[in-house]
Symmetry: C2
Amino acid sequence: MDKRSHRYCVIMCGGIGSRFWPYSRTRLPKQFIDFLGTGRTLLQMSYDRISNIIPAENIVIMTNGLYADLVREQLPMIAPSQILLEPARRNTAPCIAWAAWHIAARDSEASMIVTPADHVITREADFELSVLNGFEFVESHDALLTLGISPTRPETGYGYIQIGDVVQDGINKVKTFTEKPDHELAKVFVASGEFFWNSGIFLWRASAIREALRRWAPDVAGAFDAAAHEVYRDHAAETEFIDKAFPGCVGISIDYAVMERADNVYVETVTFGWNDLGTWSALYDLSPKNIEQNVTQNCNVLAYNCRGNIFAVRGDKLIVADGLEDYIVADADGVLLICPKAREQKIKQMFTDAKVKFGDKYE
Amino acid sequence: MDKRSHRYCVIMCGGIGSRFWPYSRTRLPKQFIDFLGTGRTLLQMSYDRISNIIPAENIVIMTNGLYADLVREQLPMIAPSQILLEPARRNTAPCIAWAAWHIAARDSEASMIVTPADHVITREADFELSVLNGFEFVESHDALLTLGISPTRPETGYGYIQIGDVVQDGINKVKTFTEKPDHELAKVFVASGEFFWNSGIFLWRASAIREALRRWAPDVAGAFDAAAHEVYRDHAAETEFIDKAFPGCVGISIDYAVMERADNVYVETVTFGWNDLGTWSALYDLSPKNIEQNVTQNCNVLAYNCRGNIFAVRGDKLIVADGLEDYIVADADGVLLICPKAREQKIKQMFTDAKVKFGDKYE
């Protein structure tokens, strides 16, 4: 068997994307939407990208039970046993743990890349080279590898990774993880050349992440160690076990549970044109603009005295706007949002406020 | 026969209301909408108001052919022969002329009130007294009477009437008609006590307006004089004649064609709580406001840092807005408008722009 057959990809697509509410909805999160108007959803684009380097039968989709039909519909080539349905939302650590236990049961020599489904990557050839390089590294080292993106601006919406000693060309030890910095600090980070954006894309051997989880998040690891290997090889048995065990896990991110604690954490610094599409501003930055710097997403717009806005409306709708500057105008399925880009960090809270006030009607 | 049986009312409801676009639409103009959330449309409220003083069989509805079904649906008590369908849009002079010829053929002693269907009147008892007073006057004078509203603010969106000599208590000769003044001039007008808002509500004997039209707008009068009295008494014959003759009339307002020229024009000064609902600001002023001075029309709103806005959305929709001040946000049937109240005079133009760019899709 060649190395390639031991390589796996885990695509995580269980999130709600509430920072993109109301365009992204609990019942139809952004990863299932043709966000860039390319004819493919973000999930499909993630699949297309990775299927160039990973055998189709080694691609595992992790999602919430709610989205089973959406995944089957959008990725009809994926076997049902390759779609793992989380029975509850528990952040990334339990999700990744399950994927690792599942893959390890299939293949004791497995290495894997873990990626969210909702990122945009513009230079796919560079992406492929970086990923192959990363696989080579984790297959020959006891390493948890994260991809660090060369920053192109002092973005305050991302986490940063400070690089330590060089291990080999393009791969360094991680010195620190830093949460979203303020603008001044972000400028210092970018100028230093030592800081890279934390992409949330990871590579490791299945055995390495299992060991790390057992050491740094024994509760999470314990939940999955409670089942024998055979359980993870039998789709029905696995589902039955997970439906009981998974909801008992604490909701914790893999960064917090493992990456920020372990001492075998490395970063591969990459430059493949990455955008996490985490916010409306991220989408705005990525999108073509007209002469007034307005971005129009899937809709007809008549704009008067408008500058720097993003207009996103689902359906065949007309927006007529006058006097808006640097706003998000998003309208979908019974909810209209009008919000300054500068206050987009509040959208998640607005989503929650709407839930408190109106129940799940506008979720 | 008592005087009452010779009194008629003409309700004009053929307009598009494009200054209220997109809430008011070519296919469903504002007069056919329950604009104030009272359970009655503006047309129905106009009918209810006038039916207290005018016999039901003497109420004539003038509208565009497009709205025949809407009128029949909303006023099922009105006989088909009382609904006159204009085959083309020709402003108020041809509309009023037709109504006058139609009524005169029915009743040579007829007097009539002509009123738009989309005004709001808050003090109905005062309205009734004013109208009865007006009827008495026109029945005993050769007079074209208009109702002038005592101004309560220096409104720049209305026409003004300057009063001349007193004829009797509450009724004066008209000195001048003035188009929409600027703010400074409007303040002078209001302070003077000599200027009243032009309501567009008229009273006269059918014979008086016919004479005036023959003198001041002979083209218009000629079009209707071309048919014999009998034609106007036979619904089918009248329809056939009008469908041919009406489109040939010039589009001209009754103010311009007659009122500003004739020398027997009088004004009755009234104070019955009137609003022409001509603009979003007019609706805003009329509506109850929350503590942040926002007005909400038929919709759920979550407003953050918002002041002085009017939110109007058809359907069971949620608006989430942040950082808007003194805006109109209106959403209906595939069109969303976001426009500062201060620029509402442009809405008519925006409506036209949308037509030029997208055809009749968003009309």
